[in-house]
Every structure is written in structure tokens, then in C-alpha cells.
Subunit: 415 residues, 2 copies
């Protein structure tokens, strides 16, 4: 059983806006064992939409239409799907009443054009929309001797998501094929994509029935695992077996085996071990603190931090001797160490993080090029420091540096 | 003249990865007056891809295929487009030589399968790829008595972008229709989408030939303007006239009239006026400093900042009297003011920013609910403070708060 997702709306054909709902819908369809074979985007154009619908009816079993269910003349999904199927639209008296009530409740006069939102494909079930005026529709029908399942869904994410989970998923589950798909995401820090694949391939190549996809990013590689079986329990068990082996093969680089972010994992360890932390940043400009505090509950372990951009403040905030900066330069192993040790002491934290570097585009030299970063971690006994030359632009260097700093904390705590 | 963009790759049909190149391609095509009418995503499947190509040939004049140009057996774009057109692939001796050279230069033996990267559609021009081994292709042909332009492009963003700009754009420009499209993006801070539209609609409704799209986000509304004319100069002039009137109508909420981010605009004002700034944050956890320092050259005006998460550090970092916290609570108008004034003094900056609030999900009360935020801005004479109740989750509240703080700086400096 395969699916096509059709996103409707001329704004989705501009450089400014993109369909993102289809990722959510794909995830849900996959858990039921339904593969998405095609995704299409069409504008608010009658002929284009009717033709796109007919193409989809000819190549997919489940067709999800998103958007174009509003009351304006640009909202053509209902009438175009009816035309493509060669069936009628019927105005539903119950939905008509609901619309009148909705407007009356807000003391507004309903524009006549809104009534088209009460039009339902002949034979379809209307799906109430708790977060908007446009209801969805569900239709099981035949087309050219094939069984088709068609759903019309609202476009806004906060409308489509609850509607799909509550009303479409149970209906799809009842007709889905015998097999379901389980997925799992593993994440690895500070390792190249090919180095990661070299370790991982030895393992996942043995599991031919599990699809493994490797996606590289800045300071992070993700492994996406997908496995099929008769039940979700069996599919999960298959995927988990591979994940367990991969965890061993990728230790100690692997930081997450259920999709968590690096800052969530670091927060988890800090919280569990009752360890407090403080940060002193230069080139990352607050990014390490921002990521640590993005996690709910981080006030339990994150005490505070400083961004010591100017040399004076490196002295003022964390008591770094001006002579030390003069001797080694603000971007140096020594200053990273002093930032980490200084902020640890200043905040009374158990761990102190220090980051200094050259994010670019300016400020680099032959001796200290753009991308040079020092990260230090102090625990009161010894202070580790790592030197890196990160590639890429300012944003990428800063991200890499924050990833490096957080990963040093993770490795220390997970050891 | 219309276009279809076809993204090829099974990974684009999973919940994990999405085509983003099409936004870039749409922008470029639009500047030549070519509208994108369809976007499609197809997996690495021979039958699906041949059919998708034929559908595109029947409904678009310019068809851009992205991805599937690599050397593996999953890379089917070349052969499927040839099959759909009913033409041959020819192995190009020059490209074959290039491939051998590329591998020899890296002291690697070339796998036989790589030779398929030298296969070119009969009649097509090969487009060298400076950032990868897979060249693109450009073909002008006829299909069912219609002229078609077909380009095969590599999938990775850092390969497709330079290749498209340097080699495809000049060729498209030579055959593009007489009209081109100019675009412009205006941005407004801390104003709701409908309030913004109410002010803007009075203006843009007079300009019927310019398409205006309003997109709302957290603490920011964007207005996208698109106008057509015979030349880019004329199209720009039309769009600029509307933009000028909108700037007046949306003053002082409008902060950017050429797409810049709020932190870029704030940095521009600080730099131009030679004003220095420092930040003291609680609930935003470093986000305000991180955004300020994301701008290249920010070390000229950003001196430093603190994240005073614990109450002790509010005292330690910016000398807030413990009694003041006891009296008003850490989330209060008084503490925001004390943070702004304290950090200003501590860093010797001309402006000091203070932010305190409850980002959630925990920590809220009836009196001080999640989303309550105080932002203060001190200049040594007087200190402004704003109280807000932001909606949404932790991430959204923090973003809103940083947006509010940066917008206060912008308004002060642009006055």
C-alpha cells in the first residue's frame, strides 16, 4: 500500500514558503507500513489541481490532499477532487449549521462564500476540525477498478496534526496492510560522516532487512533506522537489535539512541548526577549557555555564564590576568583553560566550560586562522583542553565549537 | 513560460529529510520571469521516475531534475530522463578522462560504476561541477511538438548553487520570456499578523499588479512583495514604490526593508553610531547575546554579557542586592531594571540590556504565569522596561523575549 501527499497552495511555489506537514504525515503513514512514493506541490489553479489529482489516483492507494479548504475563491480542493473523481459535492446541513453557529458565537455575520466549507464529496465522511473552520474529509472509493483512500486535510500545522492523529490514523489503521514500520534515530558527535559510516557499515550491512540512512551535519551524524514487521513490537525488536550493536560499535562517539539532542543528553547526565555547571564563552557568544538552557529544568544544574568578548571583561568576569592574554593571545589554550577554571570558581559550580576561538570572517591570521577554536573543561582537579580547526562560515564554526564543548561535558559525565 | 522542479531521492520521502534546494531554484527562476507551477519528489525507482518525467514534459516548459547523478545503482536520473524522452545516452570521452584524472589525483582506483557519470543525454551540453564528481546537463529539445528545456542538476546544496548560478542562469536568461520578477522582503517586529495586515492592506491594495504575501512568525511579520515588468529595473522600481509607502505606513514597527535580520539591523545601528552594548539575561539563557554576536564584526560594539540563572549570580555578576530579589522576586520589573543597569555599569557599556521571565514549562504561578517576561534597556540616564505575556512553549517564549529586547535597542537607536 503506497501513498501520495499533495500540498496545495500558490504560496508553496514561491521562494519563501515550504510544505513541512508532509514530514509529519510521512512519519505517521510509515508507522502503519504505508510508504510515501510521491510528494507533489500544486498551486491554487483548477486545471493543475484536477490533473494532479488524476495522476495521483493512477499511482497511489492513499492520497492525502493538504490545504485549499478555506472559504475563499482560491480554495479549490473540494471541487477539484470531486471533478477529478467525477462525483458530486453535497452541501451538508449539519456543517452548514455549525458554520452559522461559529460566526454567531463571535457576533459576526457569515459571508455567503463560507458556505462552501460545508460541501462534502458524495460518500465522504466529514472530519471535524477542532482548531479551525475548515473540516477535513475521508473517502473510500473505487477509481478505474482500484480501491482508493482519499483524505482532504487543512493546511495549518496546528489544525492538521491533531485532526490527522485523532481521526485519520484510526481509519487508516483499520485498512492498513499487515506490516508496520518502526524507526529509530541514533546520533554521533564530533565524527565525520565517512568515519562514522566505516564503523557503522560493518554492523548494519548484516541487517539487510533494516534500511539504514546516514545523514551528516556540523559536528553531528545521524543514523536513521527503519524496519518492517507484522506488528510494531516485532518491528521495534528488529530495529532495537541493530541499534544495540551500533551503540557498541560507535561508542564513545554515540550520544543519543532515541533521537535526543546533545544538550538534552548533557542535561540528563548533569541532572542525574547532581552536577552543576557554568560557562565562559568568547567566540560562541552565548551559544553554549543558550543550548544548555534551552532544555526545560536546566535551572537545576546550570548556574550561570559569561560572554567575555572584550579582553577587559575576561579579566573582570573571570579574573584572567592581563599578562596571560598578552603572553598567549586571547585565542589560546591558556585562555580557554583560564576561562573554564575562572568561571567554575566564580560561580561555585562543579564543572566550568571555557571556549575561545576565531569565528570569522575577520580576525584570522596565518598563525591563528579563522576556525581555530580552543574548548576547555575544568572540574577542580584537572582541566582538559581541545584544539580544533573547524571549517565553514561564522555560523558553522560557532555551532561546531558549541558542539565540541557540550560533547566534552557528555564524555566526562558518561565515563 | 513555466517550470517544474523534480527532486529525486528515496531519502526525500522519509520523515527525516526534505528538499530545500527548490526554494533557491524558485527564487532564481522567478527573477527571469519563469513561474514554478509544480514541485515533485520521487524516489530512486525507475518506473516512478520515468513516469514523473513524462508528466512534467507534458505540463511544463522548463524541467529541472535534482539529484540521482551519482555513481551508484540508485542513481537513475540520466537513464530515466533518456528513456522518458526516447533518446540515447552517450558516454563522453572528455568526461571519462576527467573522472580517471580525478581519481588518479587522489591516488584511488576508479570503480567501474563511476563511468556512468560520463553518460550524457544525446544533444545535451555537460555542465562541469566544481564541487563534486557528478556534472550537470543542459538540453534544449522538442517533445510532442513543444519546446522543452531540461536540466539535470546535482543534489547537494553546495554543488547545485554555484553550478546553477554560473552555468544554468546565463542559458535560461537567453531564452526567458520578456518579463522578469523583482522581489523584496520587509520585516516588522513585535506586531501581530492581523494588526500588521490592517495597516499594510490599505497600501498594497492600491498596487494590484504587485503580489503581496504576509507571513507571521514569533515576534516578526514578513511582507513579501513580487512585481513583474519588461526589465529588472522597471520591476524593481514598481516594487520599491510600494515598499516605500509600506515603510511609512508601518513605521516604527518596520525594522528591515531588504530582508536583514533584527540582529543585523541592531548591529548596523550600534556600529554606525559607535555605541557599545552589554547584556544580562536570565530566562533567555544567552540567546540575546548569541543573536547579537552572530553578526560578523559584532566585537566592535558588543562588549560582553552574563547569564545570571541563579539568584546568587544575579548578585555576583551585576551587584543586585539580595533584598531586592527577596522583595520583588527574580522575575519582576525591578530585577529587569537592575540587570540592565548593573551590566551596563559592570561592562562600561553605553547600553545595558536586562531580561528576566518564566520560559516554562515549569516555574509558573497564578500571579506570575509561564510566558511573563520583563525586558529592560538602560542608557545611563533612564531605563525603559516592558512587561509582556508571551504565548507558546519554552522555545517560543525565549525567542519572543529576545526579539522584544533587540527591538527595544533598535527603536532607541533609530529614533
Amino acid at each position: 500500500m503506497n501513498a501520495e501527499i499533495i500540498a496545495i497552495g500558490s504560496e508553496l511555489l514561491t521562494p519563501f514558503r515550504q510544505d513541512t506537514n508532509s514530514l509529519f504525515l510521512t512519519d505517521r503513514l510509515n508507522t502503519l507500513g504505508i510508504e510515501v512514493d510521491f510528494k507533489s506541490v500544486v498551486g491554487d489553479d483548477r486545471e493543475h489541481l484536477v490533473n494532479a489529482a488524476r495522476i495521483a489516483f493512477g499511482r497511489a492507494d492513499v492520497i492525502l490532499f493538504m490545504g485549499g479548504l478555506g472559504p475563499t475563491e482560491d480554495d479549490l480542493t473540494r471541487e477539484c477532487v470531486a471533478e477529478a473523481l467525477g462525483i458530486e459535492l453535497r452541501r451538508d446541513p449539519g456543517l452548514t449549521g455549525d458554520l452559522y453557529k461559529w460566526f454567531a458565537g463571535r457576533r459576526l455575520k457569515m459571508p455567503e462564500s463560507n458556505l462552501k466549507q460545508a460541501d462534502v464529496l458524495a460518500g465522504a465522511v466529514s472530519l471535524p476540525n477542532a482548531n479551525g473552520t475548515a473540516p477535513g474529509q475521508w473517502l473510500e472509493t473505487e477509481w478505474a477498478d482500484r480501491k482508493l483512500v482519499i483524505a482532504l486535510l487543512p493546511g495549518p500545522p496546528r489544525e492538521i496534526k491533531p485532526l490527522f492523529d485523532e481521526q485519520v490514523m484510526p481509519r487508516l489503521r483499520a485498512i492498513a496492510p499487515g506490516e508496520v514500520i518502526a524507526t529509530r534515530v541514533l546520533k554521533v558527535a564530533m565524527m565525520g560522516e565517512s568515519a562514522c559510516d566505516e564503523l557503522a557499515a560493518k554492523v548494519y550491512k548484516k541487517y539487510r532487512d533494516i534500511q539504514t540512512t546516514i545523514l551528516g551535519g556540523a559536528g553531528e551524524v545521524q543514523l536513521h533506522l527503519r524496519g518492517r514487521a507484522k506488528t510494531l513490537e516485532l518491528a521495534k525488536a528488529k530495529v532495537d537489535r541493530l541499534a544495540d550493536e551500533l551503540e557498541d560499535a560507535l561508542d564513545p562517539h554515540l550520544f543519543s539512541s532515541a533521537g535526543e539532542s546533545l544538550e538534552q543528553i548533557v542535561g540528563y547526565y548533569l541532572d542525574m548526577r547532581g552536577v552543576t555547571i557554568a560557562t565562559a564563552e568568547s567566540c560562541t557568544g552565548g551559544l553554549v549557555a543558550e543550548r544548555l538552557t534551552a532544555v526545560a529544568g536546566s535551572s537545576r544544574y546550570f548556574l550561570g555564564g559569561v560572554i567575555a568578548y572584550s579582553n577587559d571583561l575576561k579579566t573582570g568576569f573571570v579574573d584572567i590576568q592581563p599578562l596571560l592574554i598578552k603572553e598567549h593571545g586571547a585565542v589560546s589554550r591558556e585562555i580557554a583553560v583560564a576561562l573554564a577554571e575562572g568561571i567554575r570558581k566564580r560561580c561555585g559550580a562543579q564543572l566550568g566550560v571555557g571556549v575561545t576561538g576565531i569565528a570569522g570572517p575577520g580576525g584570522g591570521s596565518e598563525e591563528k586562522p579563522v576556525g581555530l577554536v580552543y574548548c576547555a573543561l575544568a572540574d577542580g582537579k584537572k582541566t582538559e583542553v581541545v584544539q580544533k580547526n573547524f571549517p565553514g562560515d561564522r555560523e558553522r564554526v560557532r555551532w561546531f565549537a558549541s558542539q565540541q564543548a557540550l560533547d566534552m561535558v557528555r564524555r566526562k559525565l558518561s565515563a
